[in-house]
Each structure stands twice: as C-alpha cells, then as structure tokens.
Symmetry: C2
Subunit: 172 residues, 2 copies
C-alpha cells in the first residue's frame, strides 16, 4: 500500500471511491504556443508584448474574442524541471525575509501541476495569432487555454496577506 | 502528412520547430476533488458552498493560504463528453438570440482543453480541506490547481462585448 492509499484509508468510504481516481492521469494538448522576442526573465516585466500562435485548425474558436479587452491565458510551465513540482513550501520570490508559504498559497511556478495563469491585454487578433501584452511566459511555452476576462472575475474586496504587499511595494 | 503538418508547412521554419511539439501530450494529476451536496446544475448558482478535498500529502502546500480572501480554482471539466471538446463555435448559454461565438471567446465548458477556472471566496481551511463559496463545479470534479487571487488579477477597465451584458443582465 502506497502513502496515498495509506492516508486515504482513513477517510470515509464515500470519499474514498472518488479519491481513488486521484491517481488518474489527465491529458491535455497544446492549443498553441507563445512567441516572444524577449529572452529569459525579460518576460516577467509585465508590459512585454507577445504573440500566441494557435493551431490553425482552431482559428474559428477565436471568432468574436476581439470584443474582450482582457484574457486569461493558461499555459504549461514546461521550463520547470519535473522534480521541482514536488516542492511544497517556498519563500515568495526566494526572499527569506518573507514567510515560508505553501506553494498553493503563492503564484510560484513550482506547483503540483505546473499550470500558469496570467491576465493579459488583447491587442490584436489576426487569423490564428493573438497579440497580447503582459504575458509572463517564455518563448515556446505551450498554451492550454484562453478565456475572456469578464466582470465575474473581479473581486473588489480581495484581501491579501501582509507579505504580498511587501513583495509588490512600488511595482504597481 | 496530416492536416496539422500540412498547414504547418506554410509557417516559417523557426515557428515550425516549436510547432511540432503541439502534438505532445501534457499530463497532469488531480491534486484533489470537489465535494458538494449540490446536485447537477445547482452548482452554477454562484453562492453555493463546496469543499475542496486535497490529497493529504499536499497539506503543507496550503500553509498561509488563509491570508487570501479569494482563490482561483482550476479544475478538469470531466463531465463533458470528449467529442464535445472539438466544438469550435457556440451560442453563449445556447441562446440563439446571441451571436455565434468561437468557444475561446466564451467561458463555455466546451473547450479544446476542458479546464474550468472560477474565482471563489475562501471561507475556511482545515487540514487538507478548503471550504469555498461560488465554485461552479460538480461533485467529484478533479481539481488541477489553486491560486491565490491578488491585485494583479484585477483589470479595472475591462471591456466586454454587448452580448455579455445582455446575458448577465440582472444577475449581478
């Protein structure tokens, strides 16, 4: 019995049946990839302009998207070495003056499933190519999904911990 | 030569090398699943309260997450039949009085990669269980990632198309 099964044997049966599926693989395919002239960590400067080159067969799936000013881009953090995805705690941005946080309580690239999520401005749509601003993804990054940003995505009264404000002081 | 390769042969070589990887599988595993007493489409009523039951081995990855009031939950839309993921255009919410849109220009569940993204309120964290409000995911839905919501996720000046306002008139 593996660690997961052992831990799982203590949860109620009605949960366990579902929990067994936690071992299941979920398979996705890139719908396109990121093209940017920025190299390395230049892409983390939030004003960078990039392109998303979609698979040509998906061109119709973009119809009408230009009505939205902003998009969420979901992408595969393929540059993170696989062994780093088992890290559970980090100091935000490696700053040891900030608290040691669980990875799911931060936006670090080190996550159990290496999926990036970034809000971008949509500048232009031409055929199957989107030009966007603010995408902090490296050149060649596989794109998983694109979703239009809408008022449901706004939490006006969002609260963040003190370390977050300390980290981003002066950046906005 | 398949359709993708044929179309791809027309793009510049520097793109093509990367584009070949578009056929690559990307594999994720559920980090947990959704538990809700709401059945069927009741979960789409935005005020529902659900739990996210994380894999117990990930409990440390939640440390400090309670400092955030809101989270993004990324989940696998496992109830959508696979053949529906090749749909390219839809009328939002099936309403034929609204324009026929590309799926990537809407938040429909029918997407090339069936990934859901919902902003939720974090009500409580206990061990590896999160209690959240507003999660429109069915009971048993596999969870892919959890990300804290922060001020970078706010687009104050977001523009949406006219149909969006028509669809959600009176809902907010």
């Amino acid at each position: 019995m593996g660690e997961f099964e052992r831990l799982n044997s203590h949860v109620p049966h009605s949960f366990r049946v579902i929990a067994l599926s936690l071992e299941d693989k979920i398979v996705f395919y890139p719908i396109g990839y990121v093209k940017t002239p920025n190299s390395g960590d230049e892409v983390k400067e939030k004003s960078v302009i990039s392109q998303i080159i979609l698979q040509p067969r998906l061109v119709e799936a973009l119809d009408g998207i230009e009505g939205f000013s902003h998009l969420f881009v979901l992408f595969y953090l393929d540059k993170v070495p696989a062994e780093k995805n088992s890290v559970l705690k980090i100091h935000p941005k490696g700053r040891t003056d900030l608290p040691l946080m669980g990875v799911l309580g931060t936006r670090t690239m080190l996550r159990p499933n290496p999926i990036g999520l970034t809000l971008v401005k949509l500048l232009k749509v031409q055929d199957s190519v989107l030009t966007v601003q603010d995408l902090d993804a490296y050149d060649g990054t596989p794109v998983l999904d694109i979703k239009p940003y809408d008022p449901w995505d706004i939490a006006k009264d969002a609260r963040v911990p003190a370390w977050w404000n300390k980290l981003y002081e002066g950046l906005k």
